[in-house]
């Protein structure tokens, strides 16, 4: 299993061999393995993206031999990135941090937690094995039927079936994980840790878990029906046999839009932990932030059809209004983040740099999303590269930036050593340039009329912008090298972190780095959402 190869490197901080890692039910080790597994899939998904970008650098088919392989590349890229990287990566952070933040000794169901973890590499290997079994899924990560049905010129191979099975496995992992988070958060908080004293990250994990719990089973049902259609002669989604193609889209997006918030809310939570610490101020508008998070979660269930504006089969005004309204709680969060920094004393350690990168990039991803909320404008932009630009500003500029902010921030807690600041900043600069170089031109090429998911193009006006994006994608790839180097060097010889290297205020910094099994020898008093701040400053800070 790929996820275990890193274990020897961490054995110096965690006594105990490979076997112990494989059989552990400790949420910290499980969290770390979630993160390692997700990072490996991040690299795999990145390689698939490089394949896509290499092909698109110039007109003509140079890199892939036919369009079918190209379709596999982007289908698998999206599937791996969404289901095996972003969602589990954030779940991994949740796993590591949430029990520590609320003063719990572990998750509520440690063995189910381990099951959630191990379902992921199982699903991932099933998914990737399709490349060896006649080709991967090639109907896009959305896998709209009838294209994803077993029909001529559709998806006749095993790839699509493996895709369905692995997604069901990963979905099951998510559902079990969300139950675990919810029970942990509701039942395992330390004395004094009331709901409105929980760190914002815990709140975002809570809302995320509700979304996962309510939405993931729905896509499971859609996938089951697609599987029945493909293998048992079902008639759900293929109009040729009496089914409805748009039905699948409705069920699919009922999950997949909330899934967008599953992929961003915990990242927002991490930013909300990091910004106050490096501004030396409390988060501005703590409760407003919680309400905004809950509002995004609730609205998230009523906007799914904005992915279907061009189908001609949905009620446009309602979904348009709801989509516009999502901008409001997101805006509230932005103003709260900025007010947190306002009149603070900012220091620019790497986590803070990435958090600021999140703010600037996610802002673009939020604003260019508002264009598509307007139905007539969406008629022009839908399924063009504009949408690709939008979703990558959200998922890369938002989630990935947040993930790296979190990695630099909690690495000292996980391993007892600091990551190197210089390498971290080098990584940030290369990544920041690469990300804008890759994704900003996609706005323009989309406005110029380039649809997504095409293997080739003949429009000379698109060539330069595509080449720029390809150069950017390789820049992003390069930015991973200093990070990987940083991790390997810092694990052995990084600066010793101590319990609380950032002067942070939440409970996880009250225990040793790395924390002992069951986390706390004793807990400080919890009188606010910043127990360690209260400990350091008594009442003077207020």
């Amino acid at each position: 299993m790929a996820t275990t190869t890193i274990a020897p490197a961490t054995a110096s901080t965690y006594r105990g061999g490979l076997y112990e890692w494989l059989t552990t039910t400790d949420h910290k080790k499980i969290g770390i393995m979630y993160i390692i597994s997700s990072f490996i899939f991040f690299l795999i998904g990145g390689l698939l993206a490089l394949g896509v970008r290499t092909e698109l650098a110039q007109p003509g088919l140079q890199f892939v031999s036919n369009e079918g392989i190209y379709n596999q590349l982007f289908t698998m890229h999206a599937t791996v990135m969404i289901f095996l990287f972003v969602i589990p990566m954030l779940a991994g952070f949740g796993n590591y941090v949430v029990p520590l933040m609320i003063g719990a000794p572990d998750m509520a169901f440690p063995r189910i937690n381990a099951l959630s973890l191990w379902l992921l590499p199982l699903g991932g290997i099933l998914l990737l094995s399709s490349f060896l079994l006649g080709g991967g899924a090639q109907a896009g990560w959305t896998s709209y039927p009838p294209l994803s049905e077993d029909r001529p010129l559709g998806s006749t191979g095993y790839g699509q079936d493996l895709w369905i099975v692995s997604l069901i496995l990963i979905g099951t992992s998510s559902i079990l994980g969300s139950i675990n988070f919810l029970v942990t958060i509701f039942k395992m908080r330390a004395p004094g840790m009331t709901l409105f004293r929980m760190p914002i990250l815990v709140w975002t994990v809570l809302v995320t878990s509700v979304l996962v719990l309510m939405a993931t089973p729905v896509i499971t049902s859609a996938l089951m029906m697609l599987f029945i259609d493909r293998n048992y002669g079902g008639h759900f989604f293929d109009p040729a046999t009496g089914g409805s193609a748009v039905l699948y889209q409705n069920i699919f997006w009922f999950y997949s839009h909330p899934a967008v918030y599953v992929m961003i809310l915990p990242a927002m939570g991490m930013i909300s932990e990091i910004l106050p610490v490096f501004s030396r101020k409390p988060l501005f508008g703590y409760k407003a932030f919680i309400f905004a998070t809950a509002a995004i979660g609730a609205l998230g269930f009523s906007v799914w059809a904005h992915h279907m504006f061009t189908t001609g089969a949905v009620f446009l005004p309602f979904f348009s209004l709801m989509t516009f309204l999502i901008a409001v709680p997101t805006g509230v969060k932005f103003f709260n983040w900025i007010s947190t920094m306002w009149r603070g004393q900012l220091t620019f350690s790497t986590p803070m740099i990435f958090a600021l990168g999140f703010l600037t990039m996610f802002l673009i991803g939020g604003i260019n999303g508002a264009f598509s909320a307007s139905v007539p404008v969406d008629f022009a932009l839908h399924d063009t590269y504009w949408v690709v630009a939008h979703l990558h500003y959200v998922l890369f500029g938002g989630s990935v930036m947040g993930v790296f902010a979190g990695l630099y921030y909690w690495f000292p807690k996980m391993f007892g050593r600091m990551l190197d600041e210089t390498l971290g900043k080098v990584q940030f600069i290369i990544m920041f340039i690469g990300l804008n170089l890759t994704f900003f031109p996609m706005h323009m090429v989309g406005l110029a009329g380039m649809p997504r998911r095409i293997a080739d193009y003949a429009n000379s006006g698109w060539t330069d912008l595509n080449l720029l994006a390809t150069i950017g994608s390789f820049t992003i790839a390069v930015s991973m090298l200093p990070f990987i180097w940083n991790v390997f060097v810092s694990l052995r010889s990084g600066k010793i972190a101590g319990d609380n290297p950032w002067e942070a205020n939440t409970l996880e910094w009250a225990t040793s780095s790395p924390p002992p099994p069951y986390n706390f020898d004793h807990l400080p008093e919890i009188r606010s959402e910043r127990p360690l701040f209260d400990l350091r400053h008594g009442k003077t800070g207020h």
């Binding site: 036919n66 369009e67 079918g68 379709n71 090639q138 896009g140 709209y144 039927p145 009838p146 294209l147 029909r151 010129l153 109009p239 193609a245 501004s279 101020k281 409390p282 508008g285 703590y286 407003a288 061009t310 001609g312 089969a313 446009l316 005004p317 348009s320 409001v328 509230v332 103003f335 900025i338 007010s339 920094m341 009149r343 603070g344 004393q345 900012l346 220091t347 703010l359 600037t360 802002l363 673009i364 604003i367 260019n368 508002a370 909320a373 307007s374 007539p376 404008v377 008629f379 022009a380 839908h382 399924d383 110029a448 009329g449 649809p451 095409i454 293997a455 080739d456 429009n459 800070g541």
Partner: protein, 369 residues
């Protein structure tokens, strides 16, 4: 507050200066490179598209203001509130402000509501479908070719079918400038999407249902040709699914329809007797034969039957054995139809017969000896 007011003010000046320089440099590059223009849609050519374009401009204006405001506040905070060595005491620990929360909830709500109402107004004209359009055309999108059925004004009877989607090959979606054209969309297989960038519009072509929309091309656009293509992933020939919109003067359009309608009524001349035609059939996007053979130096014919559903077009082209160099190109035949293709004589050797719409699924070896 540890630093003196004077120090604060000099650092503030420096911060503002730096901010102005960074923003100015960025804007200069942005405008100089022509990127600002590239942030707007391509030139609109229909009355509907003009409205979408105007709406885009409004949203872009709002977006720009919001972006500059928020990004400016972020950069300002970074520059102005960085921690200085003399900052030993904590900054004021402000936990929030209900007044501010209300302000930045209410104002964005108002802004998005205005945008929503504007969008809805535009939508009502862009998406409107009239009962009596000037021209009715049905676009049939099959994997991986567009066909256009021209209908009588009541939309009930088909006059003729244009099965060549590209203008360069003598086909395309021919439409009149200045008239109201209603397009109905059908698919025999998977989901496609009708997309012409210059229309600033796309609409999915769903199997099992009919979508309709209307457009009126600007009268000044007669003589223009625009490229359109499928915008919904439809399989291994997705990107090849392109078509041209050819705009004619209304009078030229009327003449075109008349000519094509008449041509469609003419029954093809019977084939000269004695000429033998090979039989070839297509079903489920497969030829029924993998090998054909004919005599060298002699003209021949293939009687081709397309047994796939209507909308799924095939043809039988002759190519070099590399499978790409086209020797003899034939027009496509719609599903449910049959045709006899005549070919000129070939030299002895091995060739490929292939469907140009589905080259990856449908090909075989033609042996000439």
């Amino acid at each position: 507050m540890s630093s003196s007011p004077r120090k604060r003010s000099t650092s503030a000046v420096r911060a503002i200066a730096l901010l102005v320089i960074v923003v100015a440099a960025f804007c200069a590059v942005f405008f100089y490179a022509g990127w600002w223009d590239a942030m707007f849609p391509v030139k609109a050519v229909t009355s509907q598209a003009h409205q979408v374009s105007e709406l885009y401009t409004v949203i872009m204006a709002v977006a720009t203001v919001v972006f500059l405001l928020v990004e400016g506040l972020i950069i300002w905070s970074i520059l102005r509130y960085r921690r200085r060595p003399e900052d030993t005491e904590l900054p004021p620990q402000i936990h929030g402000s209900n007044v501010l929360e209300v302000i930045w909830t209410v104002i964005p709500t108002a802004v998005v509501f205005v945008l929503f109402v504007m969008s809805l107004n535009t939508l009502n004209t862009v998406d409107a479908v009239s009962k009596t359009p000037d021209v009715q055309i049905r676009a049939v999108a099959g994997q991986f070719q567009w066909q256009f059925d021209y209908l009588t004004p009541d939309g009930k009877t088909k006059l003729f079918t244009e099965s060549t989607p590209l203008a360069a090959n003598g086909g395309g979606l021919v439409v009149p400038a200045g008239l109201n054209v209603q397009l109905s969309l059908t698919s025999p297989d998977v989901i496609h999407s009708f997309y012409v960038p210059r229309f600033l519009f796309k609409r999915d072509v769903n199997p099992g249902m009919v979508n309709r929309f209307e457009f009126t091309i600007d009268p000044t656009e007669a003589g223009q040709t625009y490229r359109g293509q499928c915008a919904e992933l439809c399989g291994i020939g997705h990107w090849t699914m392109q078509f041209d919109v050819v705009v004619k003067l209304p009078s030229d359009f009327a003449a075109y329809v008349k000519e094509r309608t008449a041509a469609a009524l003419v029954t093809p001349a019977p084939r000269p007797s004695g000429s033998v035609a090979l039989e070839l059939k297509a079903k489920d996007i497969q030829y029924d034969k993998k090998d054909l053979s004919v005599a060298a130096g002699q003209a021949f014919a293939i009687h081709f039957t397309n047994s796939d559903p209507a909308g799924l077009a095939h043809d039988v082209d002759i190519r070099q054995s590399d499978g790409t160099t086209v020797l003899q190109d034939k027009p496509t035949t719609d599903g449910g139809k049959d045709v006899t293709y005549d070919y000129t004589a070939l030299k002895a050797g091995t060739y490929t017969f292939i469907c140009s719409v589905h080259p990856q699924n449908m090909s075989g070896t033609l042996t000439v000896k």
